[in-house]
Symmetry: C2
Subunit: 647 residues, 2 copies
């Protein structure tokens, strides 16, 4: 089966493909621009010329604009005298300019457009694939993957479907993504070898992605000098270790001259790291940075470090504090080409978390903010859950004046893509991938606008209103029928799908809600709790400190309150739980109806796949509703004010 | 590593091995008797002769006693004029007589012994191995196995260690077990073929077990005519199906002339069965019985049939009722060589259940009572849990005058044996295997006496008092720190190890405790509950019907009561929960100390293995204590009367 065209169906190229276009400039990415246009013109009857040809044309795409202002990736676009002109300083900019014109469609060729500059706000817009090369006995081919196997790997070796990888790179370029890490941050035995004797397989992938301006990165194990190099240590200050990394990295660049760099999960959930040698995370990261620096590479060092063998009886330890406690003291100690990669929330990609206080606490450190496109905790691509509004809230949050989107150097998402013909399992989960790319380019963009753009490109105009109705509120719907008021987790242990209110309550993972017969929530105040609220600067520290000022949606993240506590909404906590869980299911029912009404307006295969997933989403949402409501009714004894059925 | 000698160490044969013995009679099992004696004499200096030799001797083992009275397996034993004589009518009886003398040790050769007759109360004393041939992706090599791999199979084929199998048969004979089913009742694809093209592998096992009087049985899939025979149906009344089974069975007997028969799990937990064809379980069982009858074989048809896709919201369905509801109406319809195999309790091998009411409800049906030696729900051979007292209670229970041990034709246990050098993982779990065999021979035997016997044979006299202290109360200790008052489950879903109070509360498995802030337990009364109590005859139906007369240990199995409900013990339910959970852990701590004190009195490898498991048992028991106590404290709000720490 041909993979789904996603947001690049042939029809999206109708406007440019039926015009006369001139491409000026040279280089591999300019060649890509030309090939894209030639293909479109072949389909829609336009023409494309290269060079200095001065004949009449509708569209000019040219290299030669101001490199200082635009960098390699920026471009300008204007329309005057019946001609649309895109100028860039580098091939990547010209490619992004082409896709900009594609997104504009016929609008690109109407009236006048003043010259407008488009430069990505974040230099690195990256997808991390948690793909294993060898099928992991527990985690499978793709850890937390819900879109079939891996695009890159199958059963221990490269899948070899490079045309598919090329198409993937094309989709990524069309939404602004410029980097991919091709393997899981949990680097198992087989995968460790990608760094050395199996780098050729990585180079093949890099070669397929390169024509679309996508650089390839690799997750590596901190223990590589031990497991691959035969050294007796991986101590980052040991000269033999440093020499080993220097040599290994040089060989990587021989194979992949534009290699992006390393991604490292160290001292986290059992992965090896510098702690074993009494060294700091800065020591670890800087060693790799030093090996990469001569080649222009970057190390992404993940800040997801916490005690995953916590005792649930110990209420003083707070996993939410861990990233800040570990890394804030290291601000200023990381090398220039080391990027600290911080999950957007302090816990782990829950449907609702506050923004990680670490993001505002590292002014002298390059930061990557990590989002999760793969829906580990948000319905696993069996539920519709468009994450644009959540991500936008994160990126607009101002820890201390500057928004997160301005503090970060890079935006990273854990990829939701696999070998599935629809790329993402649930066809509507493509919207998350697209939205991620567009927000990484422009973090203050209106997510609703991005959603409309994606809908129009992917589905055309007819079903657009229905699609918007299905997607727009889907994150809040999901939040309604799952864990309430920011408390998180309440999922089945291990696979994390479906409800289990106490599933992580007595576990070593640091993920508790402390519900008893009187109330629920985690006291993270400075005054009486774990002190996590104090990791924020003002005004957030004060706002979160008190249940009176804490936003409703984060109340149980920051406070343990009684079931009778009144929210700002005017409802009690317990009634809020009941109401949102009934509403959430009703909203899924309504969305399913809307989707059903789009039959005939949407490609039948897509329609059938989504319809089938809606059945599961509804079943699961009802299970969430009934388990959460029953759990809290049995504990609180408070009846529903509206007398609805609770078991 | 040589497998552990278990209850047949060389020293156990010292008394017979240092005597002069005469063996009279012929046949393969008499040969086994002779070989056993010859080996013992070779070690301890005695002698053994065969035939009619009339010289002076201490022990005579002879065939020729009254076959009508003794059957093939019975024997008599007497001592007069300084000579001990064992007489039997068949070779099996003589072998059991030899092991009887071995158990007696020096006592067998002292003073006078009046002639005493020993005949097994139950004709069939069987172990069911839930062993897979091919490693199952979820269940592994042995389903619910906690003793390493399978004795019989490894990675898709016969393991081929027939000497190990022979030793296993010898251990079984020495405690009276005479049948083994060699594969899992969940018959997967590979295992289905044991019936036909892979019967040779079963025949090899049968050949290794045969010298010890152990017959081999096979679990088969009801769908065999479809999956192996290529027929379009498995309808038990279809002539083609019946002919297929007749032929297949004849070929089995060509390969294994003394083949025991089939074990079938049908229409249970997803296994195929007669319901698909609108036929009854009697139709299904009788078809197989007809195929086996000409050869003297038996079909064991399991009664473990229930709805495993139950909706937890539905409080009218009660899994406990299922076996009775399905099978009691069929009493009298099963063929003479069909045995209905009933789990001892109505649920699934919990640490405490009432005896299944089905056992008393099938007067015109041959019954096998199924116990579980493998400790699925009783500590998975990481915890010491000697099940003798529980099994003895089951066997002595009188549904309607006659004890269970008298109602049953067969006693079956799910085996706890694997490829582990100690056979059972936890060396002390051997006691369960031994006790099972001895209780199957004599269901009204004192389990404490059996335990002493096992300890003396296995460990000798020195550590006996310590071992008794560790084992004797271990089942009640385990009960104390796990699910209280018969309510069951509260285990981690899937693997069933360790606590998860709500782990099965919102599941489709029919296993609920219904705890809320006011109380806990399942109302199974006729008056207000599921009516399960009414499946018993008097006086049990009345006794179980009321919380006032229901035995404390089953209170929450039969009734939903408030936390303040006073038990016959005088304690409230909630205080009982707290007290037993603190006591249980204290008892584990004490047992661990006793075990530590036995160092030097017990073989070091055994001592180390048990000591290591005690660490895990204690960790796990504390986890059970704290999770169960915290769960009920958070729900009830009732403080511990003694002010102990609850989290």
């Amino acid at each position: 089966m041909e993979p789904d065209p996603a947001w690049l169906p042939a029809a999206a190229f109708r406007a440019v493909g039926s015009r006369h276009t001139l491409v000026r400039g040279a280089g591999p990415l300019v060649d890509t621009v030309y090939r894209e246009l030639a293909a479109a013109c072949g389909r829609f009857g336009g023409s494309v010329a290269r060079g200095t040809d001065g004949g009449p044309c509708d569209l000019v795409l040219e290299l030669g604009d101001d490199a200082d202002r635009l960098g390699d990736e920026g471009f300008t676009c204007r329309r005057e005298d019946g001609r649309t002109t895109v100028s860039a300083a580098g091939g990547a900019g010209l490619l992004y300019g082409l896709f900009h014109v594609v997104r504009l469609g016929e609008d690109a060729f109407r009236g006048r457009r003043p010259r407008k500059t488009h430069v990505p706000a974040l230099a690195l817009r990256m997808l991390d694939h948690w793909d294993n090369v060898a099928v992991h006995p527990v985690m499978g081919q793709v850890e937390r993957g819900y879109a079939g196997g891996s695009l890159f790997w199958a059963d221990g070796r490269a899948r070899g479907e490079l045309e598919r990888v090329r198409r993937y790179g094309r989709l990524l370029a069309a939404c602004g993504i410029n980097a991919v890490a091709v393997n899981n941050v949990n680097v198992h035995e087989t995968e460790a070898h990608l760094l050395t004797d199996r780098i050729g397989e990585v180079a093949d992938i890099a070669g397929a992605l390169r024509p679309y301006g996508v650089r390839t990165h690799l997750s590596v194990t901190f223990a590589a000098p031990l497991v691959l190099g035969g050294l007796p240590t991986a101590d980052p200050l040991d000269e033999r270790v440093r020499a080993w990394w220097t040599e290994a990295t040089a060989r990587v660049y021989e194979a992949i001259p534009d290699f992006g760099g390393y991604v490292v999960k160290a001292d986290s959930e059992g992965q090896p790291g510098p702690f074993a040698y009494g060294r700091s995370h800065a020591d670890g990261a800087n060693m790799l940075a030093a090996a990469l620096a001569p080649h222009g590479g970057t190390v992404h060092w993940r800040a997801f470090v916490y005690d995953h063998r916590q005792d649930w009886r110990d209420r003083t330890t707070d996993r939410a504090r861990a990233a800040y406690d570990h890394f804030a003291p290291l601000d200023g100690e990381f090398a220039d080409n080391a990027v600290l990669q911080v999950k957007h929330g302090p816990m782990d990609f829950q449907v609702r978390e506050p923004v990680s206080p670490l993001i505002g606490a590292m002014p002298r450190t390059r930061l990557a903010v990590e989002l999760q496109a793969t829906q580990e905790y948000t319905g696993q691509q069996r539920h519709v859950c468009w994450l644009g509004p959540m991500w936008s809230e994160v990126l607009r949050f101002r820890p201390d004046g500057v928004p997160v989107g301005g503090l970060a150097d890079a935006l990273v998402a854990v990829s939701n893509v696999g070998a599935d013909p629809f790329w993402t399992g649930h066809p509507l989960a493509q919207a998350n991938l697209y939205t991620f790319g567009r927000l990484a380019w422009q973090p203050d963009a209106d997510p609703g606008g991005i959603l409309d753009e994606w809908i129009r490109l992917t589905f055309g105009p007819e079903p657009a209103a229905g699609l918007r109705a299905v997607l727009e509120g889907s994150w809040r719907t999901y939040e309604k029928y799952t864990a309430p008021l920011g408390v998180g987790f309440m999922v089945q242990p291990g696979h994390h799908y479906g409800p289990s209110v106490d599933g992580y309550e007595y576990s070593p993972w640091g993920t508790y809600h402390f519900a008893d017969r009187d109330g629920v929530g985690v006291d993270r105040s400075r005054a009486t709790g774990t002190g996590f609220a104090g990791q924020y600067p003002k005004p957030w520290a004060e706002l979160y400190e008190s249940p009176e000022t804490c936003p409703d949606e984060l109340l149980l993240f920051f406070h343990h309150v009684s079931y009778g506590h009144t929210l700002h909404s005017g409802k009690t906590v317990i009634q809020h739980i009941y109401d949102t869980h009934f509403e959430g299911v009703e909203e899924v029912e309504a969305a399913r109806e809307v989707w059903a009404s789009l039959a005939g307006l949407v490609d039948p295969a897509r329609h059938a796949r989504v319809a089938e997933r809606f059945e599961e989403q509804l079943r699961s949402a009802r299970e969430w509703r009934d388990q959460v409501n029953s759990y809290f009714f049995r504990k609180s004894g408070v009846p529903d004010a509206h007398g609805r059925r609770i078991y």
